[in-house]
Subunit: 419 residues, 2 copies
């Protein structure tokens, strides 16, 4: 016969019931303690504290959930308070602990919404970023930070072909959770959003996934091509802000996010040969056109017997290549997204009407300065890339991701010091 | 130096390049062959052929992508042709093979869109269902099948509280792909959709995920509660259509799908004690109220010292329980879904305006007859379940999933014989 407990458990009973998870991270949560002491983390765990934020050069997790927030408060103290609680909570969740120690009573909302109870953190990282709106918005210096807005945190120019939807674009703060478990990523954003009640509100979100190849190697995107064959020869100087930046950004990075819808119905009706000409790579192998090895150098100067370039002038890889952009490099960390289907009525022959996928690429790219990174690379691509026939940028943002957090600090703390 | 290949590979070159995957399933694809002979499947693989379709009693995979299709053709032969190609293609993909053998030329669209190249099938199952519209639609007997529409394939009544959006509801055919890899599930639906060009078109889709507990046991839903503690004591008589059904449905099942949005912002602001009263179970343990063991019988008759029931009269588990519904049982196989956020302006105090999650439960339930299954159970629940304050049914459908497929057959083939 099942043993009985009171319908309304005592504080002791509740803590005992919820205690399994707390115990699993080593116990020792004093109520209000910032971070568990000597936490015995439930593997697999990615470090939260360090010289850099997690989720930037961390090997890509399988799932992401990204949220951009609008600040609703007019008080600088509220922003600092929020960043403090976000930092402490993200650090806890990275270890697989709940957002906060369980409440002592059932007569209150839970301190955690509990959907991740019993899951591992699955390499959870939470990466925070600051949008231009933290510094100034509609001409207002809401928090006395306008004077310290970094020059690199530009207002992105309008690129050729941009169809950015305002409700999917921008935001004062960004939170990107990455985990091998989609529930863990959702859970993390949800807890941070709860902490933001009355201070900040979600503006837009985007989930994404990436599937690892069974035998390792470069993953494929929804176009069926390998995506990520090229990465910068040296990551550190491409990604991390150095002494050229303000103290709070040193060891940090700028992230450009673009929600890139792919016209998959058209792509799927396109000859594979033309797809390969468009990308400049072979579909199955990922090798540059005319070669067999995925990682062979592009050799943009190769020509056929008639003198025509093997990799077309407007092929994606040619225009994206560092050699075409004065050496500019970025670190991509993208995900595929699948947001179902929408009705479309096309404005060109044969005037197809019907459902189309709202699916494509959540482009996420890190760089030490977007002016010499994404902006420099994408200016030409936006105009000339053959791939533009099949993709539409429908949202995104630029966020300054502060340097890594030391225990006791909150993310971006040095931004608020002495201003 | 990388070796060079012609920019436009020969047939031999292309087949060789794409051949890695074909070889991985054992080769032997003759062009046009229905199913690979003696295929050496890439594990992990779920069987496609058998007495029942996969994806019904198959242990739940981590991800799903479900699509409902509207038939656009007026020809019965087109429908049969589509089901033939869907069957053959789903069988191939279940083994990790591409949708079809690679084409011999680059001057044609790919026979597969290739985003699953290099992935395992990750236990892919594809479950097909027939909506009422296959049999009759708007009074029309499009395919001469009206006379054999099973009585069990009812038009679902309008339930109390239903807010079904037409563009997320119904459909003539359903395809549910389940896999431990979200890319594999998307890929499967996409290939089948491509085969349907000019015959059927996607009407709506829904993706979902479910996270396995680190130590095993019942997974949690986005409300933070364990979901699925109760399952029918005997699955077979609950799920499978027997001799009471037409030949093509024997060994099949009826699936009710409901897209159930959860008001997570409200739920998260609700006291945990009230959440538990609403569900009738404890949040952390999953045990019936007042008990400690998740799997303890509900004992609906238990009362406190004042004679009030321990499990409230309108608690979710009481109303869902077989004892409250004349013994009615269904097999649930649900997933969580996360479709981002929407703007809402509430029509009740305090008239909150802002973003709300479009997230919740993709309810999927199988039964041998919906009249004595979901309809019977849900009639009362729709009216009285306390949980209704926090959930809204926004879409879904009822589909007859034919019995299992034998090699050489196509799914539902016996429906078309002799009518």
């Amino acid at each position: 016969m099942a043993s009985e407990v009171p319908t309304r458990p005592s504080r002791r009973g509740l803590l005992a019931a919820a205690g399994g998870l707390v115990a699993a991270v080593g116990g020792g949560f004093a109520a209000g303690a910032a971070v568990p002491q000597a936490a015995k983390a439930r593997a697999p765990v990615e470090p939260f504290f360090g010289a850099h934020q997690g989720g930037i050069v961390t090997p890509a997790q399988d799932h992401t959930y990204l949220a951009a927030f609008d600040l609703r408060t007019t008080k600088r103290e509220d922003v600092m308070k929020l960043l403090r609680s976000w930092t402490d909570t993200a650090a806890r969740m990275s270890l697989g602990a709940p957002a906060a120690p369980p409440a002592a009573t059932l007569d209150a909302p839970g301190t955690d919404s509990d959907e991740a109870l019993g899951l591992t953190p699955a390499r959870l990282t939470v990466t925070f970023g600051f949008g231009a709106g933290l510094f100034e918005k509609a001409g207002k210096d809401r928090y006395g930070l306008a004077v310290v807005r970094p020059a690199a945190l530009v207002d992105l120019p309008r690129f050729n072909g941009d169809q950015l939807v305002p409700t999917r674009t921008g935001g004062d703060l960004s939170v990107q959770a990455c985990s091998d478990d989609p529930m863990v990523a959702f859970h993390a954003v949800r807890q941070l959003s709860r902490l933001a009640y009355d201070i900040a509100e979600i503006r837009w979100t985007q989930s994404g996934f990436q599937s690892r190849q069974a035998k390792g190697g470069t993953p494929r995107n929804l176009m069926g091509f390998k995506d990520g064959t090229h990465s910068p020869p040296q990551v550190d100087p491409v990604v991390w802000v150095g002494t050229e930046g303000p103290a709070w950004m040193q060891g940090g990075s700028y992230v450009v996010v673009r929600r890139i819808r792919m016209a998959l119905e058209h792509w799927d009706r396109t000859n594979v040969g033309f797809q390969e000409q468009t990308l400049g790579r072979h579909k199955v192998s990922g090798a540059p056109l005319g070669l067999r090895d995925e990682f062979a150098p592009l050799r943009l100067d190769r020509a056929d017997k008639d003198g025509n370039p093997i990799i077309p002038e407007n092929a994606h890889v040619r225009l994206a290549n560092a050699a075409s952009n004065g050496g500019a490099e970025i670190l991509r960390r993208g995900y595929s997204y699948n947001d179902g289907v929408n009705f479309t009525a096309e404005r060109w022959p044969p005037w197809r009407q019907g459902m189309e996928y709202d699916a494509g690429l959540l482009f996420v790219a890190y760089q030490r300065d977007p002016r010499t990174g994404f902006v420099k690379i994408f200016e030409n691509m936006a105009k000339f890339d053959m791939l533009n026939q099949f993709v539409t940028h429908t949202g995104g943002g630029l966020f300054a991701c502060p340097g890594g957090v030391r225990e006791g600090e909150f993310v971006g703390q040095r931004l608020f010091v002495g201003v």
